[in-house]
């Protein structure tokens, strides 16, 4: 095609001035260059892999891994496969991201609101805190927190917080819950409470639309969700025991361990992201014109209702899109756990497994694919939410 068009171009210059033709030619060139580049890379990779005697494919995932990991959510030993190590890493990534998102959101909203208080001192103190945390690299903060964790007292001098919780340089030891038969009624009760709460919200909204009467939904639902599982728990005869950690000669036995790597990564991720969320929240609230508050007060709404019904719903529209990208950033940044030896996805799959099997292309491609999937899923969910709260325009 390129030859053909070149010939036609010789015949008459009018083709060069035709925008559509130039567009097609340029795209054909782009495809050609990109295709050649790809072919170059692929053929090189194939010959390089052949030269090194590495067979491609994902068969390595079922090979015995032969290494051990701390911080596992599911049991993992040296006899387990690389595939299982991958799952361990994935679960750890999801765990630290999920907990981090929750903490970062709560802390970030608090900081953002404190930034807006009329109190000059408080506002400035929060400002400098946020600026310092935002402008220092996350990896440095992770290292710092990790060093703090490692500098905690040794296991035999572990700090006893009472109620069976110990803090030492091996992490946090807490009593592990032991589920006894009959416990399944508690989560069932919680589920029932949530379903009931949703039904109650719908009913209350319908009633308010019909009669104008307001039902205290929040308080009733809170009580429902908190009390129902507790009642179920008591009614079933307290089917829950605790295994208290005991200090032995070689560290703690029993109980539930939160490793220092996890705590350091979680703290650094949450506080770093919270500083960004604080700025987003502040900007979101400031974006709502003061006229909205004045109008709401003029209508006779109480300040609390003004906040809940007028300011927050509008501010959320501004807040949610950048908040989404912060959640994505937090998830992606959890990959920095590799630097302190937290067994997350990059550390297991692109780290130890890659080094042991040499399957660089597969390992990194799989890691990237997983992160892409997580990113796109979070985007999708947040876009759904965003669409629900977005301004309905004509």
């Amino acid at each position: 095609m390129a030859v053909d068009s070149a010939e036609r171009a010789k015949l008459g210059s009018s083709l060069w001035t035709d925008q559509r033709f130039r567009g097609l030619l340029f795209q054909a060139l782009t495809i050609g260059v990109a295709g050649t580049f790809l072919a170059f890379i692929i053929s090189n990779t194939a010959s390089n892999l052949a030269a090194r005697g590495i067979a491609s494919g994902f068969g390595f995932l079922s090979i015995q891994a032969g290494y051990e990991l701390d911080n596992t959510l599911i049991p993992f030993g040296p006899t387990d496969s690389h595939g299982r190590a991958f799952v361990v890493g994935l679960l750890n990534t999801l765990l630290v991201s999920a907990v981090g998102v929750v903490i970062a959101t709560v802390v970030g909203f608090i900081l953002g609101v404190l930034r807006l208080t009329p109190n000059w001192l408080l506002s400035k103190a929060v400002y400098w805190y946020v600026e310092i945390v935002r402008n220092v690299p996350l990896l440095l903060q992770i290292y710092f927190w990790y060093s703090v964790m490692i500098a905690l007292p040794q296991v035999r001098n572990a700090v006893d917080l009472g109620i069976g919780v110990f803090i030492s340089n091996r992490g946090l030891q807490a009593p592990a819950p032991i589920l006894e038969p009959g416990f399944s009624i508690v989560p069932l009760a919680l589920l029932a409470a949530i379903v009931g709460a949703i039904a109650l919200v719908r009913w209350a909204r319908k009633r308010q639309a019909a009669t104008g009467q307001v039902f205290p939904v929040f308080r009733v639902n809170l009580a429902l969700i908190l009390l129902l599982p507790v009642i179920a728990y008591l009614a079933a005869g307290r089917p829950l025991g605790f295994e208290i950690p005991v200090l032995g000669n070689f560290g703690f036995r029993g109980g539930f361990t939160v490793t220092p790597e996890f705590v350091a990564l979680l703290l650094a991720l949450s506080f770093y992201t919270a500083a960004f969320i604080a700025e987003i929240v502040r900007a979101g609230i400031l974006a709502i014109s003061h006229g909205q508050t004045e109008a709401a007060l003029a209508l006779g709404l109480k300040p609390r209702w003004t906040m809940r019904l007028i300011i927050i719903p509008q501010a959320l529209r501004v807040i949610v899109p950048p908040l989404t990208s912060q959640y994505l950033n937090l998830t992606k940044n959890s990959s920095l756990g590799v630097a302190i030896g937290y067994a997350e996805l990059v550390a297991t799959l692109s780290g130890i497994t890659l080094n042991q099997t040499g399957q660089a292309v597969e390992c990194i491609a799989l890691t990237m694919a997983v992160y892409l999937t997580i990113s796109l899923s979070i985007s999708f969910v947040m876009n759904l939410y965003n669409r629900r709260i977005a301004l309905v325009e004509r």
Partner: protein, 665 residues
Amino acid sequence: MVMSESQVPQDDGSTYAPGQHPDLPPPPGTVGLIGWLRGNLFSGPINTVATLVTLVLLYLVIVPIANWAVVDSVVTGEDRRVCDLGRTSALIGENARAFDPEHYALDPGAEGLTARQAARVRVEQMAARSLFLGSPSLLGVFLDRYAQTEQAGLVPDSLLPVMEQVRPAELAPQLAEAVETDNVPAALEIYDELMPLAAWGDSYDGACWVVIKQRFTLFMVGFYDRDQLWRPLVAFLGLLIAVPPLLFAGMPQRPRALWFSAAYPFVAYWLLTGVELAHGPLRLLLGLLVLLAAVAPFAWSGLTARSRLLVFSYLAPVLAVALFFAFGPEPLVGFEQARIATEVTPQMAEVNSRLTVGQNIALPTGPVDQIFSGRLYLLGLALSPLWWMIFGALFLWGLRAVLRQVAGQAGEAEWRAARPAVVAAALLSAMILFAGNQISQDTLSLSVVGTDKWGGLLATMVTGLVGITASLPIGILLALGRRSRLPVVRALSVAFIETVRGVPLITILFMSSVMLPLFLPEGMNFDKFLRALIGVALFASAYMAEVVRGGLQAIPKGQYEAADALGLTYWKNMRLVVLPQALKIVIPGIVNTFIGLFKDTTLLGIIGILDLLQVAKSTNSDSNWIGFFQETYIFVGAIFFVFCFTMSRYSIYLEKKLETGHGRR
């Protein structure tokens, strides 16, 4: 606001016509410092409580930090010994103060105790006992360290009188004996005598900045050759000159300073790597560009004779110097080299056919040169008469201008036009004279410093600056591609941007360090540092593209249409109409991306480059400096904070300066 009775000025009985009453002063307590305090800190009960609570919290946070970092810190000394002395003697004091004889004497087996109480008593007794038993050995450690410090002649002046007064060496055996015989009162007396020592330690147990002082060079440049440290220093000073003209439009002499800024990256590259930029094929390329530039002012149809002369008068000196670099400082021997090179060429042909391109593209010194040198010198052969012509013309012109100036015949305008030629002629003459002898050739050429030796702030700044410089244009192109009408271009841009934004930087860096060698032909390899640089720049450009796209979308369609209606081509439309407006809107986003990039350079450490953060980390795991992680991390954090915070301030400044909207002016 309701005024209280006392604040209303007394009626003096006089009457005023309506509107003639003199202005009353504002009520006291609403203006000045007190008014400000009332309004901002104590405007209500909640606000007052918030102020007080914040004050207490700030006190609890700032005072210990200030004590640690400044008041009690150690800055003198060659190594950690003084810091250790301070910390040990402070520990002795802490031990003595925490020791409680009552706890020591507790009996867990006493009657009437519940099991829980007994356990608690046992813990308290154990703690007191370990303090008691540990004291002599702590004092022993202190004396050991003191002896070492004394031997090295490093004892701080402030410690000497304390040692005279306390004489801990004499107290040590007494304390050991008291502990051994369980003699608590005697031990307490000895503790009391040791207190001045502990007090000295308390003022020396803060931050140990000696660690930063001792490793400062490592923090700044990594393992850069120690006898070549002037090079990064000069490069840094040059940066201080090169950057301001880019940032501040109102700078005096800005157009001239911008020439320096444009040349800076090349000079800095040459200075830091020691590899001449105009090397091998690059030399050839530069030579051709120079030729093109020499012909351009005369081939360009739309210029007047005067502007041709002006362009040439500025261009020619630049040309001459560039040619000098392009064809070497020894144009006389150029012919000879060309002859040798052509003779070698047949042998090179074999190398050429195998296409074993060099091992190290970032530092192209090796085979690349050999392959191209035959052809290069053939071209050099053809071009060197031109070099002589331009240089001769310049020299004659400059000489004539000087002579006429001396004779008083030259007008002001003529002298001004010829001035660059005079400077260039002088410079070139000096260079040729200088380059003629062997000594100068040795001093002129810098030794090559491989990027594997770069580290610390140097590596961080090079990565950050290269990333910033590369990511903006690439990001703009990607953003334009994403909004292109051509589906293929758009699809490729979207695929690149979304993939890169969807994965963590660390995977991209892993890819560049593990997978890139697989992508390239056998035997061809990139410099590790360069690979990481490419990874960082590509990563940042994907984010930059999204920021720029936001700006592009915010430009009203009428602007595009108006530019089209004026007959502007696509690129002129973008360059002159759309991008200036779009980029202005997104300055905060662009600077935020720069800040993010600068912070992300720390990730280079994970793939084995010794950046600033890794120097801190390696210091903390160095057995000589273990236990000072706060100092190193705070030092590195402060450097990053200064850079990033300055950048964000600058973006606010720029935003205000470019504000042309309807905001308050």
